[in-house]
């Protein structure tokens, strides 16, 4: 059983489209995250939810909107996609706020905007 699963694994779409990436964890963790990895492999946190409550909201364009229907799911919706949104997006989860336990990551969604 996959601990943190993301769908889709690959996403190719045109500029201006709206797309969603879904994430689910079956670890019973309270906190979930979205990270963006750019072409230089740099990982930057975007959002974090703890028990469905938004606790971290980094400087991210408001075209990006996370949604957490329950503590096992954290989806990412992106409006009006731009070329610069091309990246690998990782979902992660942790017990508590992750500071002592670290994160468990999904396998990533490679988004390509053309």
């Amino acid at each position: 059983d996959t601990a943190v699963s993301q769908t889709p694994k690959y996403l190719v779409t045109q500029m201006g489209n709206d797309k969603s990436i879904k994430c689910e964890q079956n670890l019973g963790h309270d906190t979930m995250y979205w990270y963006k990895q750019d072409s230089k492999k740099f990982l930057k946190i975007m959002f974090s939810y703890n028990n469905k409550e938004l606790i971290i909201n980094e400087t991210v364009p408001n075209r990006f909107s996370p949604k957490s229907p329950d503590k096992a799911h954290l989806n990412l919706h992106i409006n009006s996609l731009e070329l610069g949104d091309s990246a690998v997006y990782f979902c992660a989860s942790s017990q508590g706020r992750g500071l002592n336990y670290g994160y468990t990551f999904g396998s990533g969604t490679r988004l390509t905007v053309v």
Partner: protein
């Protein structure tokens, strides 16, 4: 401000020789620190974590790291490199305010046959 600094963006070692990947942290207390590995086109896997129980931490695949408060370092080592160790390695620690974990910029490890 960056909480962890990876000192080398790229390290190359020959197969069978020791591996040293360097990470310094900036904190006024003993933080929780982690090393993650990312193999090409794969997700991130936790190698090991330090949470102040013991300064020498053993991880998976023969890796270990030593927390040295006097040097504010948490370097990752392995006695003998294997071809399968070729990957990107990330040192991770808490950011200012201690609300989230921040990734270092990564060290790409290349193994020479």
């Amino acid at each position: 401000a960056q909480s962890v600094t990876q000192l080398d963006s790229h390290v190359s070692v020959s197969e069978g020789t020791p591996v040293l990947l360097r990470c310094n942290y900036s904190s006024s207390y003993s933080p929780s620190l982690f090393w993650y590995v990312q193999h090409p086109n794969k997700g991130l896997q936790l190698l090991l974590k330090y949470t102040s129980a013991a300064t020498l931490v053993k991880g998976i695949n023969g890796f270990e790291a030593e927390f040295k408060k006097s040097e504010t370092s948490f370097h990752l080592t392995k006695p003998s490199a294997h071809m399968s160790d070729a990957a990107e390695y990330f040192c991770v620690g808490p950011s200012d305010g201690n609300e989230k974990l921040t990734f270092g910029t990564g060290t790409r490890l290349t193994i020479i046959p």
